[in-house]
């Protein structure tokens, strides 16, 4: 068995097209997922009973379902209700955001709960409003504490985006698969994809470890 390196090099531009889709899905998934997750966390911490219950139900529901099933729901069932197809990319994106938000919200919530009551009291006692105490005292500390876990979740999302294969989105894995199948070079392609995912995730987790050490108080 011979590994055809030039074959990989020749197809780098096509593979990059796929990687751009993967990166876009990851980035949008992270930004929108954290935004929705933050809203869920605030709702759950609000102390307003209906909001708390709704947010908790959402989080529990989405954490108990497989991501692939959610993608199928959005891709196959949502169009029935909307009356028109929404396409692979948007189905996948919506699924990722809905699913990841549940995890992000739990990370954000426990980050905020991890800040001692005494810190809030100190802020309030100094004359800051509740919002001011949150903004200047609780959130900066919470963010710092949750950053490593947040990044791990982002790495997971990056890997999960390869699931878009099932709804025909031309991401990195799909691009490699198409090229490899056409020219019967699956070993090169699957090998290269593995190498790229491994390297990217490995570097990212190194960064997480460094962060963890820097902020370990």
């Amino acid at each position: 068995m011979r590994i055809d390196i030039p074959f990989i090099v020749d197809h780098l531009p096509l593979l990059w097209q796929g990687m751009k889709v993967t990166l876009l899905l990851t980035l949008l998934g992270i930004v929108l997922g954290i935004a929705l997750g933050a809203l869920l966390a605030i709702a759950r911490l609000s102390g307003i009973r209906p909001l708390t219950v709704a947010a908790a139900a959402y989080v529990d529901l989405f954490r108990l379902l497989p991501l692939l099933l959610i993608i199928f729901w959005v891709y196959f069932l949502l169009p029935l209700w909307l009356g028109r197809p929404i396409g692979g990319f948007y189905s996948a994106l919506v699924s990722f955001v809905l699913y990841e938000a549940a995890y992000f919200s739990e990370i954000i919530r426990s980050g905020i709960l991890g800040i001692r009551r005494g810190q809030i009291n100190a802020g309030l006692a100094s004359g800051l409003s509740y919002a001011g105490t949150m903004r200047h005292i609780v959130l900066p500390q919470a963010l710092r504490n949750m950053l490593p876990v947040l990044l791990v979740q982002c790495i997971n999302l990056f890997k999960s985006t390869s699931l878009v294969y099932v709804v025909g989105v031309n991401d990195f894995l799909m691009a490699a698969d198409v090229i490899g199948t056409k020219d019967n070079r699956l070993i090169e392609m699957y090998g290269f994809v593995a190498l790229v995912y491994f390297t990217a995730c490995f570097l990212a987790s190194l960064a997480v470890n460094r962060l963890q050490r820097r902020y370990a108080l």
Partner: protein
């Protein structure tokens, strides 16, 4: 200055304060003591509205704390508080800890606030640690920064909740010295503490609590020489023996 009138408080069904009445005049230093769980922390947290109470009233400089119309943040900005576990903000330097509220609450100019923070740090003997983070300060040093932080708001009164009980014996003195200096400058203070040396030196009055009640409220000399209640007598003999 501070009037506490028949204050009662419950956590669910359990009563933690019962009919507490006392008053603190301008420039007066009142030490609050009593066994663990007797409601000392709860009482002083009621004074700046960190804890709500169900009955009675508390007024600070004429402002009613329990009144729904009272802007609590505005009142709290005028009352300094120092906590047992310091509660410095770990993500800020000593100076930033001190300037946060003056800048955000009083709208002070940053440069001016920093200059004032440095002057206050000087006053508590912490000027050289201005740019340190709390994690790199000893307990006694953190508590002195916390006192400076409270003073930065130019409070009309200061509340201390066991400011030295989390400290090593060697560093207790440096914090007590800072507090004594403050008392001598005429600050109105309520101090929850078991440091009877501090009480006998600077307190004007001693309030003794037990089971959520104020059992004894007397001038310092009277409290130490002839405590009325058996509970206070027992408490005193136990504390002074140690």
């Amino acid at each position: 200055m501070i009037a506490i009138d028949k204050v009662s408080k419950w956590y669910g069904r359990t009563q933690v304060l019962a009919d507490c009445t006392t008053a603190v005049a301008r420039g007066e230093v009142v030490v609050v003591c009593g066994p663990s769980g007797s409601g000392k922390s709860t009482l002083i947290k009621c004074v700046n509205g960190l804890e709500p109470f169900q009955q009675g009233s508390i007024t600070v400089d004429g402002v009613s704390v329990g009144d729904k119309a009272t802007k609590l943040a505005k009142l709290r900005a005028r009352i300094g508080m120092v906590f047992q576990s310091f509660e410095l903000y770990p993500h800020m330097t000593a100076t930033e800890n001190i300037t946060l509220a003056p800048i955000k609450v009083l709208g002070r100019d940053r440069v001016e606030a920093v200059a004032r923070a440095h002057a206050l740090l000087e006053r508590v003997g912490m000027r050289e640690f201005a740019d340190r983070y709390p994690a790199n300060l000893s307990g006694g040093q953190q508590q002195r920064v916390a006192i400076a932080r409270a003073l930065a708001m130019e409070p009309i009164a200061m509340l201390f909740d066991e400011p030295t009980s989390a400290l090593d014996p060697e560093t207790i003195t440096e914090v007590l010295d800072a507090m004594m200096a403050l008392a001598q400058d005429g600050m109105t203070m309520i101090v929850v503490t078991h440091e009877m040396g501090f009480a006998s030196k600077v307190a004007h009055r001693v309030v003794f609590m037990d089971g959520g009640r104020i059992v004894e409220d007397a001038p310092k000399a009277e409290f130490f020489d002839r405590p009325h209640s058996p509970r206070a007598q027992a408490f005193l003999s136990k504390i002074l023996r140690h």
